[in-house]
C-alpha cells in the first residue's frame, strides 16, 4: 500500500506545473553557477601560482632575515571545492586599502545558497497543499475510506515530495559535476567526492525537514491559500531571519569588549605603564647594587666615555659595573614580563569571550535548518570556520619550524663571519622549509559536521512526529 501511495504522490508531482518550473530553474542555475565558479576557481589558482612565483622571485634576489617574515607569511591556497561552494573564502580583507567590498553588498551565489534557499522554498511549494489541498478537493476522504493508515499516507506525502524535489536537484547537480569534470584544472580528490556524498546526504535530510514542515502546516489548515501563507511566514523566519539575527542577538546576550578598546589598553600596558614600571624596578635594583658595591659610588653620573675608561683601568669596577648593568636590565625584563603577562591576560580574555560569543551565535542560528545546512556545506568543503582554525594551526606549526630554521641559519652565518650584519644582508634561503597546506582528512571533516547533521536529523524526526500528530487529528471533511 505504501508503494501505491508514494507512487501516486510522485506521479502527481512529476506531472505538476511546479515540478516543471523548479526543474527548469535548477537545471539552468546550478550548471551556470558551477561553470562560473569553476572559472573563478581557475583564476584563483592562476593568481595563487603567480603570487607564489613572485615570492620566489623576490626571495632569489632580496631575501634577508630582517623582513622576510612579511613576505613569506603563509596564505590559504584555493581549495578545489571552491568550484562549487564558496563558504567564507570571499576576499573581504578589512586591513587593506585596496580592498574588494562587493561581496559585502551581494554575497556570491554558490551551491550552498541554491540548496539552502531555493530547495527549502521549493520543498514548501511542493507540500503546502499536501493535506489542505486534498481536503479542498475532497480526495482526502476518498483516500482514507480505503484500508490505508494515516501514517502511511503521511509518510508517502513527505517521501513523495522529497523524492520529487531530489530529482531536479540531483539532475542539475549531475550536469554541473559533468561540466566540472571536463575542466582539467579542477582536480577533486577522493576525499572531496566523499565529502560531496555527505553533502548530498545533508541535502536529503534538509529537504526532508522542509517537506515535513510543509505537510505539518498543511494539515493544520483547512484551505491551501492559508497554508501557503503560514509556510512562507515560517520559511522567512527560519531561513532568512534567524540565521542573520543570531550573531547580533549573541552579541547582546554575550557581549565582547571592543577589539579597538582592548588594543588601546594593551598598548598602554606595554608602552607607558611598562616604561614607568621598568624605570622603577631597575632603579630599585640599581640602588641595591650601589649599596652592595661602594666602588660604584657616583658611577651613575659618569658619561659613557668615562665609564668605558674606568672599566678598562679598574677590574673590580668592571666586575661591579657588569652586575650593575645586568641588574638594571633584569629590572626592565621583569617589567616586561609583568606588563606582558597583563596584556596576555587581556588578550586571552578577549579571545575567550569572542569564542563564547561565536559558540552562542552558532547555537542560536542552529534553530534554523538553513544555518545547519550552511555550516555542513562549508565545513565539508573546507571553506568554513573549521578550515580557518585548521589553517591557523598549520600556519602556527610552520611558524615554529621556520623560526628554528631561521635561528639555525643565523647562527651558521655568524659562525662563518662574526662581524656580518645578518639581518640586512641578502642570503640564500633555498633550503627554507616551505609552508604546505594540507586539507583536513575526510574523517575529521565528517566529525566536524556531526553536530549540524544530527540537529537536522532531530528536526526531521521532530517535525515528522508533529505532522503525524496533527494529521491523525485532522478532520478530513
Amino acid at each position: 500500500m505504501f508503494r501505491a501511495v508514494i507512487a501516486k504522490e510522485l506521479r502527481n508531482h512529476l506531472l505538476s506545473f511546479r515540478f516543471l518550473a523548479v526543474f527548469v530553474l535548477l537545471v539552468v542555475i546550478v550548471p551556470v553557477t558551477v561553470l562560473v565558479l569553476a572559472n573563478d576557481h581557475v583564476r584563483d589558482l592562476d593568481d595563487y601560482a603567480r603570487r607564489r612565483a613572485e615570492i620566489q622571485n623576490y626571495l632569489n634576489r632580496y631575501a634577508h632575515f630582517n623582513r622576510i617574515g612579511n613576505i613569506i607569511a603563509p596564505t590559504q591556497p584555493p581549495v578545489p571545492f571552491q568550484a562549487l561552494i564558496r563558504g567564507l573564502s570571499a576576499e573581504t580583507d578589512l586591513n587593506s586599502f585596496d580592498d574588494d567590498p562587493l561581496p559585502v553588498m551581494f554575497p556570491l551565489l554558490d551551491l550552498t545558497f541554491i540548496a539552502a534557499v531555493l530547495l527549502s522554498l521549493a520543498a514548501l511549494v511542493f507540500t503546502y497543499d499536501a493535506v489542505s489541498g486534498e481536503k479542498e478537493d475532497g480526495t482526502l476522504k476518498l483516500m482514507l475510506s480505503n484500508g490505508v493508515s494515516r501514517s502511511i499516507i503521511l509518510l508517502g506525502k513527505v517521501a513523495g515530495g522529497a523524492a520529487a524535489l531530489l530529482i531536479p536537484y540531483l539532475v542539475s547537480l549531475a550536469v554541473g559535476m559533468v561540466l566540472l569534470l571536463f575542466n582539467p584544472r579542477v582536480g577533486w580528490s577522493g576525499a572531496d567526492w566523499g565529502a560531496l556524498g555527505i553533502i548530498l546526504l545533508g541535502s536529503v535530510v534538509y529537504i526532508g525537514v522542509f517537506c515535513g514542515l510543509g505537510v505539518f502546516i498543511s494539515s493544520r489548515h483547512h484551505s491551501s491559500s492559508a497554508s501557503i501563507l503560514t509556510c512562507l511566514f515560517v520559511w522567512v523566519l527560519l531561513a532568512l531571519v534567524i540565521p542573520n539575527l543570531s550573531p547580533y542577538l549573541a552579541s547582546v546576550l554575550r557581549p565582547t569588549p571592543s577589539r579597538i578598546q582592548i588594543g588601546r589598553e594593551i598598548t598602554r600596558l606595554t608602552d607607558v605603564e611598562r616604561d614607568d614600571l621598568g624605570r622603577k624596578l631597575s632603579q630599585e635594583r640599581r640602588t641595591a647594587v650601589l649599596a652592595k658595591y661602594p666602588i660604584l659610588a657616583g658611577a651613575e653620573r659618569l658619561s659613557v666615555a668615562e665609564i668605558k675608561a674606568r672599566i678598562e683601568k679598574d677590574a673590580d669596577f668592571a666586575k661591579a659595573y657588569a652586575v650593575f648593568r645586568d641588574e638594571s636590565a633584569a629590572g626592565w625584563k621583569e617589567a616586561n614580563a609583568i606588563q606582558g603577562g597583563k596584556a596576555r591576560i587581556l588578550r586571552e580574555e578577549l579571545g575567550r569571550k569572542e569564542a563564547a560569543q561565536t559558540r552562542l551565535s552558532i547555537s542560536l542560528s542552529m534553530i534554523s535548518p538553513l544555518a545547519d545546512l550552511t555550516y555542513l556545506f562549508a565545513d565539508l568543503s573546507n571553506t568554513g570556520m573549521r578550515n580557518q582554525a585548521h589553517f591557523r594551526t598549520l600556519a602556527e606549526a610552520w611558524d615554529r619550524t621556520y623560526g628554528e630554521y631561521e635561528s639555525g641559519k643565523i647562527e651558521a652565518l655568524r659562525r662563518g663571519n662574526p662581524t656580518m650584519d645578518v639581518w640586512n644582508t641578502p642570503v640564500d634561503v633555498g633550503d627554507m622549509p616551505r609552508f604546505q597546506y594540507q586539507e583536513e582528512t575526510l574523517t575529521s571533516r565528517i566529525r566536524g559536521v556531526l553536530t549540524p547533521l544530527t540537529v537536522l536529523l532531530i528536526m526531521a524526526v521532530g517535525i515528522f512526529a508533529a505532522a503525524f500528530i496533527s494529521f491523525v487529528r485532522t478532520d478530513p471533511r
Binding site: 562560473v36 603570487r51 562587493l102 556570491l108 545558497f113 491551501s224 532568512l240 550573531p247 552579541s251
Partner: protein, 417 residues
C-alpha cells in the same frame, strides 16, 4: 456611467482595503513585518552604538594625519559598506595604513547578511507584496465575483487600478506606521542622533522602499492576470521572486568578474610588501638617501592603487549594470547610496583619502607644520541622485509602470468566466 465610474472605483478601493483588513493574510503579514522591522532596527542600532563607542576611541587628535569617519546613523537602516568606510586610514611615509578594520572575532557575522531595514524590505516586504497581489484576479475569477464586479458599469482599467490602489494602501500604510514607530523609538535613544539633512534622506529612502514594494505588487497582479489558477500563479511568482532577489544580483557580480580582470587583494598586498622590503634592503646596501627612495616607492604604490581603482571601478560599473536586471539590486544600490553607505560613496571616500594622503606627504616634504585635519562631506542627496541614484529609482518606477501596463493588457483580455 461617466459619473458612476469614479465612485465605483472608489468603492473597489474601499472594498479591497476592508477585505484585506479582515483577512488572515493581513494579520500574518503585519505581525511578521512589525516584528522584523523592530528587531532589525534594534539590533542594528545596538551595532551602530558599539561602533560609535569605538569611534570615540580612535578619533584622531588634532594634528594626527589620520582619516576616520564617524559611523553613519543611517547605517542602522542600510548598513551597506559603513563598516568598511569607518576604518582608520592612517597616513604614513609610504602610504595609507588601514587599521581598526575587523571589529569582531565572531565569524558567524560573515556567513549571513546583516538583517538591516533594507534587507528586510528587499527580501520580506517584496515577498509580502507578491502575496498581496498573486491571487487578486484569479481568486475572484475562481470565486465567481469577478463576473459580478464587471457586470457593473465600470471599466476593467478602473477595476485594476482600484484593486491595485486598495492593496497598495493596505500594504504601504501599516509599513510606514511600523517603520515610523520604530524610528520614533530610536529617536528617544540619546545615543542615536541624526545629522543635518538625514531626515530628507530618510524620507527618500522610504520613498524608494515604497516604489520597490509597489513594483512587486504590480508583478503579482500581472502574473495573476495571465494565469487561470491562483496556485500555479504563486509557484511562478515565488520562482521569479527568488530569481530576482537572490539569484540574479549574486550571480551578476560573479559574471562581471569573469569579464573584468581585477588583481586579487592579496596579490596587491604582497606586492607592496615586496616593494617595501626590497627598498629597505637596497637603501641599506648602497646607503642612498632614504627620502628619494620613499618618493619613488610612493610613486610605485600610487601606480598600483590607481591601476587597481581603475580596474575595480570598471568591475563595479559592469556588475552594477548586470545586477540592475534585478530590481532588488537596483533597490539596494539606490537605498544604500541615499543612506551614504553605498559603493559610490565608498569609492569617493577612498579618492578623498588618497588626496588627503598626498597633501600630508607634500606638507611633510616641505616641512609645513600646520596640518589640516581630514574632513569628509557626504555627497548631498541631489548629487547622489544625479550620480546613479535617480537612474535606479527611475528604473524601479519604469519597471513598475511596464508591469502595471502589462497587467492591464492581460486584464483586458482576461476571460472572466
Amino acid at each position: 456611467m461617466p459619473k458612476a465610474a469614479p465612485r465605483l472605483a472608489g468603492t473597489i478601493v474601499r472594498k479591497e482595503i476592508v477585505a484585506n483588513l479582515l483577512s488572515y493574510k493581513f494579520f500574518i503579514v503585519i505581525g511578521l513585518t512589525s516584528l522584523l522591522i523592530f528587531t532589525g532596527l534594534f539590533v542594528m542600532a545596538r551595532d551602530y552604538k558599539g561602533r560609535l563607542a569605538d569611534y570615540d576611541l580612535i578619533k584622531p587628535k588634532p594634528g594626527d594625519p589620520i582619516a576616520v569617519l564617524a559611523p553613519n546613523p543611517l547605517s542602522v537602516l542600510a548598513k551597506g559598506l559603513d563598516e568598511a568606510m569607518t576604518r582608520s586610514f592612517e597616513v604614513e611615509s609610504i602610504g595609507i595604513e588601514v587599521r581598526a578594520g575587523r571589529q569582531s572575532g565572531n565569524a558567524v557575522f560573515a556567513f549571513f547578511p546583516a538583517p538591516d531595514f533594507v534587507y528586510i524590505v528587499k527580501v520580506v516586504l517584496s515577498l509580502v507584496a507578491l502575496l498581496f497581489g498573486f491571487d487578486q484576479i484569479s481568486r475572484e475569477r475562481e470565486g465567481g465575483t469577478l463576473k459580478l464586479i464587471l457586470s457593473n458599469p465600470v471599466s476593467r482599467a478602473a477595476v485594476l487600478a482600484g484593486k491595485w490602489l486598495g492593496n497598495f494602501l493596505t500594504l504601504a500604510v501599516p509599513f510606514l506606521i511600523v517603520t515610523l514607530l520604530g524610528l520614533a523609538v530610536l529617536a528617544l535613544d540619546p545615543g542615536f542622533r541624526l545629522r543635518e539633512g538625514d531626515a530628507g534622506r530618510l524620507a527618500l529612502l522610504l520613498g524608494i522602499c515604497l516604489a520597490y514594494i509597489a513594483l512587486f505588487l504590480s508583478l503579482g497582479f500581472l502574473i495573476s492576470a495571465t494565469t487561470r489558477r491562483s496556485a500555479s500563479t504563486l509557484v511562478i511568482l515565488l520562482l521569479i521572486w527568488a530569481g530576482m532577489v537572490f539569484v540574479l544580483p549574486n550571480l551578476g557580480t560573479l559574471l562581471a568578474r569573469q569579464i573584468v580582470d581585477v588583481p586579487s587583494v592579496r596579490s596587491l598586498h604582497e606586492k607592496r610588501q615586496q616593494i617595501w622590503t626590497r627598498e629597505v634592503l637596497l637603501s641599506i646596501a648602497d646607503r642612498s638617501t632614504w627620502d628619494a627612495r620613499i618618493q619613488s616607492m610612493n610613486e610605485e604604490f600610487d601606480r598600483l592603487t590607481e591601476d587597481y581603482r581603475m580596474k575595480f571601478d570598471r568591475l563595479v560599473r559592469l556588475s552594477k549594470n548586470l545586477n540592475r536586471l534585478s530590481p532588488a539590486a537596483s533597490f539596494v544600490y539606490a537605498a544604500t547610496e541615499v543612506a551614504g553607505t553605498g559603493i559610490g560613496e565608498e569609492g569617493r571616500l577612498k579618492q578623498e583619502i588618497v588626496r588627503y594622503k598626498n597633501r600630508v606627504l607634500e606638507d611633510n616634504r616641505l616641512g609645513r607644520k600646520d596640518r589640516a585635519a581630514f574632513s569628509y562631506r557626504y555627497r548631498p542627496a541631489g548629487r547622489v541622485l544625479a550620480e546613479g541614484g535617480l537612474f535606479d529609482i527611475a528604473w524601479l518606477v519604469v519597471l513598475n509602470i511596464v508591469l502595471f501596463a502589462a497587467g492591464y493588457a492581460a486584464v483586458v483580455r482576461y476571460d472572466v468566466r
